[in-house]
Symmetry: C2
Subunit: 346 residues, 2 copies
Amino acid sequence: MAVKIKDVAKRAGVSVTTVSRVLNGEKYVKDDLKKRVNEAIKELGYAPSQIARSLVRNKTNLIGVIVPDLTSNFYSTILSSIEKTASLNDYNLLVCNIIEDIDKEFKYLNVFQEMRVEGIIIMHEKINPEIRDFINRLQIPVLFSTVKPADQNFTSVIVDDYKAAYEATDYLIKLGHERIAFIGGDMRDITSGQNRYTAYRNALTDHGLKILYELIRFGDYKVASGYAMMNELLQIEEQPTAVFAVSDDMALGAMNCLHDRGLQVPGDISVMGFDGSQLTELVRPRLTSMEQPIHEMGQLTVETMLELISGSAKLEGDIIMQHRLVVRDSCRPIEQAEKQTAVKSS
Amino acid sequence: MAVKIKDVAKRAGVSVTTVSRVLNGEKYVKDDLKKRVNEAIKELGYAPSQIARSLVRNKTNLIGVIVPDLTSNFYSTILSSIEKTASLNDYNLLVCNIIEDIDKEFKYLNVFQEMRVEGIIIMHEKINPEIRDFINRLQIPVLFSTVKPADQNFTSVIVDDYKAAYEATDYLIKLGHERIAFIGGDMRDITSGQNRYTAYRNALTDHGLKILYELIRFGDYKVASGYAMMNELLQIEEQPTAVFAVSDDMALGAMNCLHDRGLQVPGDISVMGFDGSQLTELVRPRLTSMEQPIHEMGQLTVETMLELISGSAKLEGDIIMQHRLVVRDSCRPIEQAEKQTAVKSS
DNA sequence: CTGAAAGCGCTTACAG
DNA sequence: CTGAAAGCGCTTACAG
């Protein structure tokens, strides 16, 4: 069907070896031959088959990427960064959107293996033993990004979640808040689940505040769960004056819930997010958030992967990125007087 | 490096042909041989090379997708739907995020050709003559989705943009609005650019309203341009009472601009979007929007592509999807009395 | 500087 | 039911 190297060779009156040489920019091809070959290529609209090339070179220039949810702004943004860096390095992406479907993840890992991708980037941490064993047996480098699966010794590109969540909580405390609600993530994740939760509690106790377990809820990082958890938090007798949600999406859900219940952010309740997705700038009030350097993480994930592929680097331990608190409009200081009022009015 | 079919054959004590037969689920393999082969496969952790398979079968099960901007909720949602449908049909996606970079689009079209993808889905309409010619010469089926490039006879999966925009404008008029601003798209696009603009003007004149050119602006579909255009619209002496933006992102930008200027939506100005992205439900007030059936469009795009690939269908003309006005909270009726007030207060 | 030949890891007639 | 051999479209020593 498609034009092949033999056709070009015939047309140019040379051997396929010579065409191959021209294609790969080797020297030692006389200019007139080179010219004839290039003309033949143009006339025939020839494009060499990467499939055949991959087979002989044992190199596909393919990276497999597993994303938990493409429609999340956080993941689509980091995927965008990953794609950009891969493209700049002449690598192509095979993208799998698993939507919490572990079977699909396993299926795709098989596909990646069969497609002979040179590396696999995973942004999903809820792996099961089957997947863990599969990955461990795989000869292909695997890198986790923005997440760290529990009970594993896989390598991740992540922020220091404990420190980041600690500083976020600390910020709210310094604003004068004492009743700070927490909307956490999945405890199966070390980083975004356990670490952020532990940091929240430690920050409270380090400042002499009590941990109020009625103010603690766990969601699944998505907008809807932030909304639902906030709704629950509003049922309790004495309302929080601030909420720390461990994803921007959940923070947005919380803000929407407050809005729909007629409460003002930050007038009545302050809201703090985590991630630094574009949403923080798109909503009103703009969301104060503990940000991950999303673009840099995507870029470094790919660059590290390329080093793993080329063998120019071995990995020891995780790669830690720098988080950053970005103050916008969703948190405000609270006065002692207000705290009393809040208590009374509840 | 990786285990190959020969290794499996040796281990199982059969020929590679037999291994291949087991792999491909052919009958005519004795049960004991089949069992030995499967054991060898498992012991060796063998996964057949799709690269080699693609070469001999002349079939890659690959579809190339060109997205204008992954971080846009509209595109990431339809990509999610495309990925889902492709995956269900055992096709994999090679994803290119071009970010308005025509050179990158051209480069990727070449990559797609070299990778021998079986079909190409493009969600970007600003193609240039070079790309047009390239596509026309390509032996691979190309399908546009959600967009239609100008001056071309390519096939698109789209809504009836004229009708949809007409109905959107009609809705605002029926709410009593007479000063309806328009934030349009790129006039190089037939559908989202020209058709929606024409529909807006026709709806006005059909209802005996004058086209007020000072109320017309053009953006690039993104949030920032909606914000900027709204800002311009607020400079003019007599403000609009409603704004129709031809993308949800621009509508959101407009809402944010109004919010930042201290104006209420829909109290002071009504805002209507277009697309039906998830944002419509995530912002407050919820955005009334003329929706495209995003999931269905993604699904039908892939299903149509698969028919084109298998040759089981030829295409004649575009595939038109059904649009739908979804009323939320960003538009409100306006009374005659208010119109007078609005004029005076300007 | 150029080309014939082997080989990449599979599948698929063909023969038995 | 099973296997030897040819071939998919390239690249790469090897020889000249």
